[in-house]
């Protein structure tokens, strides 16, 4: 099996699994919807208030929804033995993690991005923000998948590792959150978004390049 075949095959498999019944996609979308809905109950239905917090709420909730899907990223494979099969492919662990991270983004994050503008509407987000909301999520969320994979690999062998995963990963999400929200709020205020998007993209790029290195090291450790 050639490396590219193995790579594409792994991605396709992960995406299919996520979309299937009981897979990550449905669960994450449902959580995203329910969690955002909690906010009007919490802060009241004053549309002006909701509009003010809408961008931050959507970004933070998207982040937390992503977190939900991470602890199964490697665990499901570890449980049914497929992780051992993955060790036999011609792919290095770094490439395996890379493929799984992309698949995670396509299968669980992309649907969130599609749902986000609708939730923005629920929260009375200003019209100028919708396009930037989607764009900022597209540029920024790869960081969530690639950094999240590090946490997933580290906590693979730990019982109830999900909470520890959140504790380890959430501080690392802060730059993406800050730059993502500031981009959308700049758009709403009519200001320039370039700097915000550039920084957002830089964080994502660094995560994509360096994340698999750390994740692979962590995976090797967890599997020994």
């Amino acid at each position: 099996m050639s490396k590219s075949t193995a790579f594409m095959g792994l991605m396709r498999r992960d995406i299919t699994l996520a979309f299937s019944q009981g897979g990550a996609t449905g669960m994450v979308l449902a959580f995203f919807l329910v969690a955002v809905t909690l906010f009007p109950f919490g802060v009241g239905a004053d549309l002006a208030v909701l509009a003010r917090i809408s961008v931050g709420v959507i970004w933070v909730t998207a982040l937390l929804s992503c977190l939900l899907s991470l602890d199964r990223l490697f665990q499901a494979d570890a449980e049914d033995g497929s992780l051992d099969d993955l060790a036999l492919t011609p792919l290095s662990w770094e490439m395996t993690v890379f493929a799984k991270s992309i698949a995670h983004w396509v299968a669980t994050i992309l649907p969130l991005i599609i749902l986000a503008p609708i939730l923005g509407g629920l929260l009375n987000m200003a019209g100028d923000g919708y396009f930037m909301l989607v764009l900022s999520l597209i540029i920024g969320t790869p960081a969530l998948s690639f950094i999240g994979a590090i946490g997933a690999a580290l906590t693979l062998a730990i019982r109830r590792g999900g909470v520890l995963l959140a504790l380890l990963i959430l501080p690392l999400y802060i730059p993406t959150l800050i730059f993502g929200v500031s981009a959308v709020e700049a758009a709403i205020a009519g200001e320039s978004v370039q700097a915000h998007l550039a920084l957002l993209g830089a964080v994502s790029l660094i995560s994509i390049l360096l994340g698999p290195l750390a994740s692979a090291a962590a995976l090797k450790m967890s599997l020994e």
């Binding site: 590090i150 520890l164 501080p171 500031s182 450790m221 967890s222």
Partner: protein, 243 residues
């Protein structure tokens, strides 16, 4: 046990250094506190609360220095697998976390008279809070893993990932802060510290550094003993089982 790179040698080294480090610590603290409480300098902007700086600044410096040390030790461990490196990291973490907490507490107590509220989400304090989270995550991971060698590697990875991210997080928090409120800093806009303040400040910085060194060395000795206990206990069980 072959991996233990001679704990006896480390203990000899530590025992040689400890009296000196403790001496420096005591002298520096005494001298620093003496200078602080006899100092009649009163800052025009901050009044007598400048006295809080003598605790806040060294604590903040050491909290970041400790994390940098843990990151370096982690790198050394991942590359050369030297067992003392991981023991150093484990020993330094609670001290660094405690110093971070102290920096936060004194920062809040300094902020209340300065800004009128205890917490204003300024860039430096918020960055320090995130650093505390990184420490807590590092220590939680140590506790969560049973296998010593896996724990060593996992925590090393976490420390390095945190170290790489920390400058990015600090930059993003500063960015966020300038978006939401005008620049304000505990030390004011003038980074140059009045000469009257320098001597007590440096005394306290040296005192804190010596303190950190002392507790790290003692902590490492303790960690080596803790591992020895585990090894001795398992040796006992094996010999008992063989009879």
């Amino acid at each position: 046990m072959h991996k233990f790179a001679n704990p006896a040698r480390f203990n000899r080294l530590a025992n040689a250094i400890l009296p000196w480090a403790t001496g420096v610590m005591v002298i520096a603290f005494t001298y620093g506190l003496y200078l602080i409480f006899t100092n009649s300098y009163v800052d025009s902007k901050q009044g007598e609360t400048i006295a809080i700086m003598y605790v806040h600044v060294p604590a903040a410096m050491l909290s970041m220095g400790a994390y940098a040390s843990i990151a370096i030790a982690s790198f050394v461990y991942l590359v050369w697998r030297h067992p003392l490196a991981t023991i150093a990291g484990r020993a330094m973490a609670p001290i660094g976390a405690g110093l971070t907490a102290l920096a936060l507490i004194t920062g809040m107590l300094w902020g209340e008279p300065m800004w009128g509220t205890y917490w204003v989400w300024d860039a430096r304090l918020t960055g320090m809070l995130v650093l505390l989270f990184l420490y807590i995550g590092y220590m939680a991971l140590w506790s969560a893993m049973d296998d010593a060698e896996k724990a060593a590697r996992a925590t090393a990875i976490v420390a390095l990932v945190g170290a790489v991210n920390l400058p990015i997080i600090k930059y993003s928090v500063e960015w966020w802060n300038t978006l939401h409120q005008p620049a304000s800093s505990l030390l004011g806009s003038n980074p140059n510290i009045h000469p009257d303040l320098q001597a007590p400040l440096w005394a306290m910085v040296i005192a804190f550094q010596a303190y950190f060194a002392v507790l790290t060395l003692v902590g490492m000795k303790m960690e080596l003993n803790r591992r020895k206990i585990i090894a001795l206990k398992s040796a006992r069980m094996h010999s008992a089982g063989g009879e």
